[in-house]
Each structure stands twice: as C-alpha cells, then as structure tokens.
C-alpha cells in the first residue's frame, strides 16, 4: 500500500510503485482535472503541484510521492467556488478546446505561489513547457497577469 496526500486528503492505494501519478489520479481517485496529453512530459496537460512546485504527473511515479503534498486542479476550487487563477482564466475566456487549460492553471499557480508579481517575460518563460494547440496563448498570458493582479 502507498499512502498519498492529495488535496489535503490521505489516500491509501494498492498500485505498482512505478505507476505514474496521473493514472492514479484519473483511474483510482476520479480526479480528472489533470489530462493525459503525451505521456512523455512534453506537453504539460498533466501538470499538478507537488509541495507547491509544478510537476508533470505522467512521468512522476507514485513511489516518489510518499509524505509529499499533491495539489490538483480540484484542489484549487470548485465550479461553484473557483480559485483565484481559475477565476482569471474564466474571466479572460482563456480556453478554446480547453484540454491544456488544467495544466496551464496549475503551472500558473506554481509560478504565482513563488513569484506573486511576475514580469511578462517571467510568465512566458515559466509557462513555456505547457503547450496549447488551439493558440489561446495570448489569453492564457492575460489570465496569468490578471490572476497576479487580483487578491
């Protein structure tokens, strides 16, 4: 058994220690915010926070996560009560198909937790590992800037 702290709740799992966190979130815990994009850590759709830092959950085996704090999109807010970054993404209508957006939100959350007032260059650099195929990058950048402005 492996014990994981996901969004503040302890989860006991019986899974192969090499299982990627993403599979556990989606298949065991029904936390479907993080998406499977490439499975290779190349697109960012699966981004979650581990101890406040953005990591790609598709290449993070659960054996590495004992005693660490995992935060997923669901941990930031609910449809009724979205969190600050989620509100900013809605306000800027930053999604087209929306598949990349959970990862984008988590990546932005990680940035703002460490750098509350990033420059536009810092935002671009920090977000560069997360890909969007629809081309809503300008809206995503505006959403991150908006989130940084709001309390």
């Amino acid at each position: 058994m492996i014990s994981l702290d996901v969004n503040g709740k302890t989860q006991e799992l019986d899974a192969d220690p090499a299982t990627p966190l993403l599979y556990v979130l989606r298949d065991y815990l029904q936390l479907n915010g993080a998406k499977f994009g490439c499975g290779l850590g190349q697109c960012g759709a699966c981004t979650v926070l581990v101890d406040g830092r953005a990591v790609f959950s598709c290449v993070t085996p659960i054996s590495t996560l004992a005693g660490r704090r995992i935060t997923t999109l669901e941990g930031l807010g609910t449809p009724e009560k979205p969190g600050r970054v989620q509100r900013a993404f809605i306000a800027e209508q930053a999604a087209q198909c929306g598949y990349c957006i959970p990862g984008m939100i988590m990546q932005a959350q990680a940035l703002l937790e460490r750098t509350p007032h990033p420059t536009s260059g810092e935002i671009r650099k920090h977000m560069s590992g997360n890909l969007c195929r629809c081309g809503t990058h300008m809206r995503i950048l505006r959403a991150v800037e908006r989130a940084a402005r709001e309390p």
Binding site: P17, A18, G41, V59, P61, S63
Partner: protein
C-alpha cells in the same frame, strides 16, 4: 613550485608587462568589405562559437554580458559589436588580429584566456580578415562591459602576462604533410577556431591546458567535456559519419543528444559549411583511433541492452521506470519519444555524475523561442534522495561502472545554483 607561489613571484616580476596601445580608427563601413568576405566571416564565426560567449541571454547579438562560470570566478562576455564607445568599433584590423593571435586588446591590456586566443592564434590571416569583416559589420550596440568577478589573485590582470609567458604558445597551425587535406582541415578547425580543447582537454590549477593529454576530457561551466581521444567514454565508438550528424544536428541515435554547453555549439555548426564539419568529424574519428576488439564487444553489449530494455528492481529502478522509461527505454515501447537509450550515452560512463545530474534536474531545452528537442527537468519532481537513488541505478545499470563518488557534492552544487 606551487601555483600560488608562482603567481606571487611572477606578479612581482611582471607588473609592467602590458603591450603598446594601438590607435583607434573610424569603424569601417559595410561598403568597404566584399559581401562574400562577410559571408565567409559569418560561417567562420559560427565555427568559432563567437556569438555564444559574447551575447547575454535574451540580449542583442555580440553585445556581451553572458556570464561564463570558471574555477577562477565569473567572466562576462564582452561587447564586440562595432560600437565605438563600448564595443570594438575603434579597433583596426591590426588590433583585431593582435587580440586573436596574442591575447592583447586595443588598449594594450592582456586578455584573460577565457577568450580562447590559445586556439585562435593558429588562425590564418585570411580567416581573421573574414572574421573582422563580419564582426565589423554587425549592428553596433551601446552596452557597457560588465566587469569580471574573479577571485583573488586572478582578478589582477597583470598576472595574465606571466600566465602567457609560461603557458601561451604562439604558433601558427602547421599542416601534417603525411595526412590528407580533409584531416588537415579538420585539425585546423578543431584546434583553432573551433577551440574544442577549451572544454575537452583537462586543465591544470592555473587553467592551462595539460598539453600532454589533449582531448582526454575537460570541464565546461559545471559540465564534463568527455574525452575525444582513445579514452572516449562513448559506449559505442563514433564513426566520422555519426560525428558529422551529431555536430550538425545535436543528435545521433546511438550516441547522444547535445546538452549543456554543447547545445549552442551544434546550433552554430548547423550553419557552418558542410565540408568543414565533415573535416572536423574526420579529424575527430582519427583522433580516437580504431576501436579495440574489447571496445567493440562492449559496444555490441550496449546496443543489445538498448534493444532489450531494463529489468532491474529497487528504488532507483522504480523511479527510472516511472520517470525515464517512457521515452528512454525501447524495451518498454511505451512512448513515441524515441529518446536515447541510456546505455548508449556518455553521461552514464564519464568519471563524474555532473552531466547526468544536470540533465536530470534541469532537463534539455532549446533556447527561448527556438525549435529543438526538449526533455523536462525533474528538479521539482524528485527529492535529493530520489535523485541519488536514480543516479546510482542509472550509473550501475547503464553506465556498467562503479558508483560515482561525487553525487552528493555535485547535487548540492547544482541545487545551490538553482536557488
């Protein structure tokens, strides 16, 4: 004599060893150069990797400001644009030649050998002429040079005179008549403009090349520059064709992906003349010499392992399986990534853990806004203990070598740099 004592004595002897200043000239106009000469200079500058050290991240080309970490402190690449006040706009060709051949700037000051005049001294007149035409016709950028931040006593510039007197050998390139034209061209480029030895030849306490062991492995900005001679740590011996492909594209299926300071080198060589890169590859193949029977046998084993994939158990193996295998392990056929099987790479077989740890933590990324292959970094995903377990597993499983003694120390260094 101990190096520091040597320096002290030399400093006393050599306080006034600077050279004559050369008079400033009006910056030459573009029209004064044949366009084909400028184009030739551009190709040579690509082989010389000039832009890399002389351009800050996100800064204007050749305007300087890039930090270069060395055991002596941090150098900052200087502004070599034709700006007359802050760049080298006032430099005559004579002054430019003197800098490249003798390591002396226009004012007559000795240049630190971080500027690789040890190698550029071998350049032909024609090549320096073309480089001058190219550099003199770049956009002039007004940008003050940032002073180097060197540890005492290396911050005393007059000491460079002594260093040069002891270590700097000013000699033109001499072709070897026993070798063919391609080998000689490659030797000229590798040992001259390409200054490959700057990173691939070991250096002594004062930063001078160990001339008795050329290309036997050196250091570059915290990375290990693997040996290029018969001591090459490559699990599979390189052929000239593979070297050519790697130097052009940064990638060869059974050897490597360019990382760290080698990445900008291959980006530049992609723009160099094909026949020049082929010549460098031919020279480097000859430098390593034909592989021994034992080396071939090891290469076959490494290639077989790459096909079969790994099977080991343990903490490091588990992390490898969940973190690395999707891209790196053909035996698992898990992804489309097709990254290098680790048993074929040199980061696993070199004497230090530095390259593997840097790649693991920092990943591989093309420069901002440029296309290129990427690997995510795992600095935030893995704890120090996990990185150590992973490195130990990779070293033993894929490096097929005894544990590295320096993992703890290198890991601490990289974590410190990232803060």
């Amino acid at each position: 004599m101990r190096p520091l004592a040597l320096i002290a004595v030399a400093a006393a002897m050599c306080s006034a060893c600077a050279a004559e200043p050369l008079a400033p000239v009006a910056a030459p106009t573009r029209a004064s150069f044949d366009p084909s000469l400028i184009a030739k200079g551009a190709q040579l500058a690509a082989i010389g990797n000039c832009r890399v050290c002389h351009t800050a991240e996100g800064g204007k080309s050749f305007a300087g400001g890039r930090p270069i970490e060395t055991p002596f402190g941090t150098f900052y690449g200087t502004n070599i644009t034709p700006d007359p006040d802050t760049g080298i706009g006032g430099w005559s060709e004579q002054a430019f030649v003197r800098a490249l051949r003798e390591g002396i700037d226009r004012d007559g000051r000795h240049l630190y050998p971080a500027f690789p005049y040890e190698y550029y001294t071998r350049l032909t007149d024609e090549d320096i002429h073309a480089l001058y035409a190219y550099i003199a016709t770049r956009e002039a950028v007004h940008a003050q040079n940032r002073p180097h931040e060197l540890r005492a006593p290396f911050n005393i510039r007059a000491l460079v005179a002594t260093w040069k007197a002891i270590y700097f050998e000013r000699a033109p390139f001499r072709p070897d008549p026993a070798r063919d034209a391609q080998w000689n061209r490659g030797a000229y480029l590798v040992n001259g403009l390409g200054h490959c030895g700057a990173c691939h030849t070991p250096r002594g306490a004062l930063g001078a090349e160990k001339k008795d062991r050329p290309f036997s492995g050196g250091i570059a900005e915290g990375w290990h520059g693997p040996a290029l001679d018969a001591r090459s740590p490559a699990p599979v011996p390189w052929t000239a064709e593979q070297l050519f492909k790697y130097l052009r594209t940064g990638l060869d299926d059974v050897h490597a992906i360019a990382a760290g300071p080698m990445d900008p080198v291959v980006r530049n060589l992609a723009r160099a003349p094909e026949e020049d890169v082929r010549a460098m590859a031919a020279y480097l193949e000859a430098l390593a010499g034909p592989p021994s029977a034992e080396r071939r046998k090891k290469a076959d084993a490494a290639l077989a392992q790459a096909k079969a994939g790994s099977r080991a158990n343990g903490r490091g193996a588990e992390i490898y399986a969940g973190t690395c295998a999707a891209c790196h392990d053909r035996g698992r056929e898990a992804g489309s990534g097709g990254a290098l099987p680790l048993g074929l790479g040199t980061a696993m077989t070199i004497p230090t853990s530095s390259n593997l740890l840097r790649i693991t933590l920092e990943g591989i990324a093309p420069p901002e806004g440029q296309p290129g292959r990427a690997m995510p970094g795992f600095a935030d995903a893995l704890t120090d203990g996990q990185v150590k377990d992973l490195a130990a597993y990779i070293r033993s499983e894929f490096g097929r070598a005894p544990a590295w003694p320096d993992v703890e120390q290198e890991l601490r260094k990289i974590r410190e740099e990232r803060k």
